[in-house]
């Protein structure tokens, strides 16, 4: 089925069945491999993208359900003010270890700060609990979110 989506501000057209998960479209059809496949059942957070600014697991979202909503991926999130702040904090604190989950972490963290600029610990728990990191970088993730929120070194 011919479909057109707005991804990172650009119109992208492709052929895909309506029930194909958005993640498949992004990675396999459009070649946007920054978004990762983790568990495939919305339980690890590695595939998180934004739909109209809200964090969504793209591995279970049928592309037909996106309709006219704007998609933002890790490739485009740095061009939003909050995304840029988060990415800078991630670099400053060297959050990443192996990196596989980090696109998803950054997407969830950006959505959190965009909605709740002064996130406290319980906000971070509520927004980030669904993003799993097997290297255990959680402490640095929390510190980086706080730094991005305050603009100061944590």
């Amino acid at each position: 089925m011919a479909t057109t989506l707005t991804i990172n501000g650009e119109q992208r057209s492709f052929d895909a069945p309506a029930d194909m998960p958005l993640l498949w479209v992004l990675r396999d059809i459009l070649g946007m491999t920054g978004t990762k496949f983790g568990c495939g059942i919305a339980q690890c957070g590695a595939c998180t993208v934004h739909i109209d600014g809200k964090p969504v697991r793209s591995c279970v979202l049928p592309v037909g359900a996106v309709r006219d909503r704007a998609v933002t991926t890790i490739e485009g999130v740095g061009s939003t003010p909050t995304g840029a702040k988060i990415q800078k904090a991630w670099l400053d604190l060297e959050v990443i270890q192996c990196g596989y989950c980090q696109s998803g972490q950054i997407m969830s963290a950006t959505a959190l700060l965009a909605a709740t600029p002064h996130a406290d610990d319980s906000d971070i728990d509520a927004a980030m609990a669904g993003n799993i990191c097997r290297c255990g970088t959680y402490v640095r993730i929390r510190a980086a979110i706080k730094q991005a929120a305050s603009g100061r070194q944590a």
Partner: protein
């Protein structure tokens, strides 16, 4: 006659009258007794026929007509095990007194129905009697199918006989005494199976009669949605008032405005039946999702409309345990709303919120929206716990969305905690499930 004899006779008469009255009370009214217009035999009815297939299939072959009717009767849902071949049976129905298995209804001569004559097939479908004369248990809904016309039942037979025969013996039932005595079902049938075909009500529209036939003789809605009496027969005094069947709650589908479907718009009911979802009313899962996938979604739109017209006429019964008003969306912040339940919240924020959101209105798809669903407003949380355990998959015209099964990922305690959190946050009244309740719910599911 002596005084003593008169007393004995009087007592005997009173006992007989009491017994007959007792049985009559237990038996209750028939499924269509609420429609009190004059009823006539099908052959004498001059309106559009309530039986058979929709107009688009009027010229179709017997096998094609049978295929449609088999879908409308949803034979496949019970006669196909998960991962098994269609119609080969083997689904286990877990009852308090053992497990009962559905059988192979492909035309295999040894393990299926290949040896059934037309009369044998009618005996099974209308009367619950097997080819070998043994009685069927009413898990096979013959007390509903008994209203099906002979022509329609035999069209279904022709369809089943067009399938490739598959050798698939049914697993042995594990019912305990006295429930393993099939012959005793003779008494059950005598009392509770009316063994009579559909009789149109001439005071009602042809559409209503078609809907009544579809809902009663084919779709057998009442088998899950009507509560059962002590003898496990449908209690039509509470017709369609809702019941728990196979561990899932089939909700009230009477015309009651608050707790039934009386306040649903026609379009909502049509959408729910044909796609398994209606905006603001939640999404079918469990056995109703199967009914939608195998049956309602395959039915002609005029048949779905007829069922809706019929549902509208079912007298209202109030489910007193359900709230009169469903809960609105929950607060956007995780800090507000619900009851304190740290463990439930921890599970929810890790596993659920990414699809269902903190408000209950899904950022992913309306199909995953919790707001407005009866399941989250049910203070027993039966279906919330079940869907967490087994997950679900919805196929709609536009997309397909699935919820993973968490039954093996979380303990009974965690499932109880998250169900209590979800009903408190998104429903009118929070549930109080315990790990023990969840363990019980796991045991009741058919598989």
């Amino acid at each position: 006659m002596s005084a003593a004899a008169r007393i004995v006779l009087s007592v005997a008469a009173i006992v007989v009258v009491a017994l007959v009255a007792g049985l009559w009370i237990i038996r209750g009214p028939g499924p269509l007794a609420f429609a009190d217009g004059p009823k006539i035999a099908l052959a004498d009815y001059h309106g559009a026929s309530p039986t058979g297939v929709p107009a688009s299939l009027a010229q179709a072959s017997l096998v094609e007509r049978g295929a449609y009717l088999a879908k409308a009767a949803d034979c496949e849902a019970c006669h196909t095990a998960a991962g098994g071949k269609s119609y080969t049976g083997g689904v286990g129905f877990k009852l308090p007194f053992g497990t009962l298995y559905s059988t192979n209804i492909t035309p295999d001569r040894e393990t299926g129905i290949g040896n059934y004559s037309d009369q044998d097939f009618l005996n099974a479908v209308h009367r619950g009697i097997r080819h070998d004369g043994a009685r069927l248990y009413p898990a096979m809904p013959f007390a509903s199918y008994t209203t099906m016309s002979d022509d329609d039942a035999l069209a279904i037979k022709a369809y089943l006989f067009s399938l490739p025969p598959v050798h698939a013996p049914a697993p042995a039932n594990t019912l305990t005494f006295p429930f393993n005595q099939r012959w005793a079902m003779m008494f059950w049938s005598a009392l509770f199976n009316r063994d009579s075909r559909f009789e149109p009500d001439i005071s009602k529209s042809p559409e209503w009669n078609r809907g009544a036939y579809l809902a009663e003789a084919l779709a057998h809605c009442g088998e899950c949605h009507t509560p059962r009496n002590l003898a496990f027969a449908l209690d039509n005094r509470q017709k369609f008032a809702g019941a728990v069947t196979a561990g899932w709650r089939a909700f009230n589908i009477t015309s009651d405005k608050a707790t039934g479907v009386g306040a649903w718009r026609d379009d909502d009911l049509i959408a729910y039946l044909s796609s398994g979802h209606a905006a603001g009313h939640g999404t079918a899962s469990g056995p109703m999702a199967e009914a939608v996938d195998h049956s309602f979604s395959q039915m002609a739109s005029e048949d779905i409309r007829a069922i809706v017209a019929y549902l509208r006429s079912v007298p209202p019964v109030t489910s007193t345990d359900l709230p009169a008003t469903l809960a609105p969306p929950a607060p956007a912040s995780h800090k507000d709303g619900g009851a304190p339940n740290a463990r439930g919240k921890m599970v929810f924020e890790g596993a659920c919120v990414s699809c269902h959101g903190w408000t209950g209105e899904s950022p992913v798809s309306p199909v995953a929206t919790l707001t407005g669903a009866l399941a989250v407003n049910d203070p027993a949380a039966t279906n919330v716990a079940q869907i967490v355990i087994s997950g679900t998959r919805r196929n709609t015209a536009a997309d397909a969305l699935s919820m993973p099964a968490f039954g093996n990922a979380y303990s009974d305690d965690e499932i109880a905690a998250v169900a209590n959190y979800v009903t408190a946050r998104f429903g009118a009244k929070g549930s109080k499930l315990t790990a023990q309740d969840v363990a019980e719910l796991r045991k009741q599911v058919s598989q």
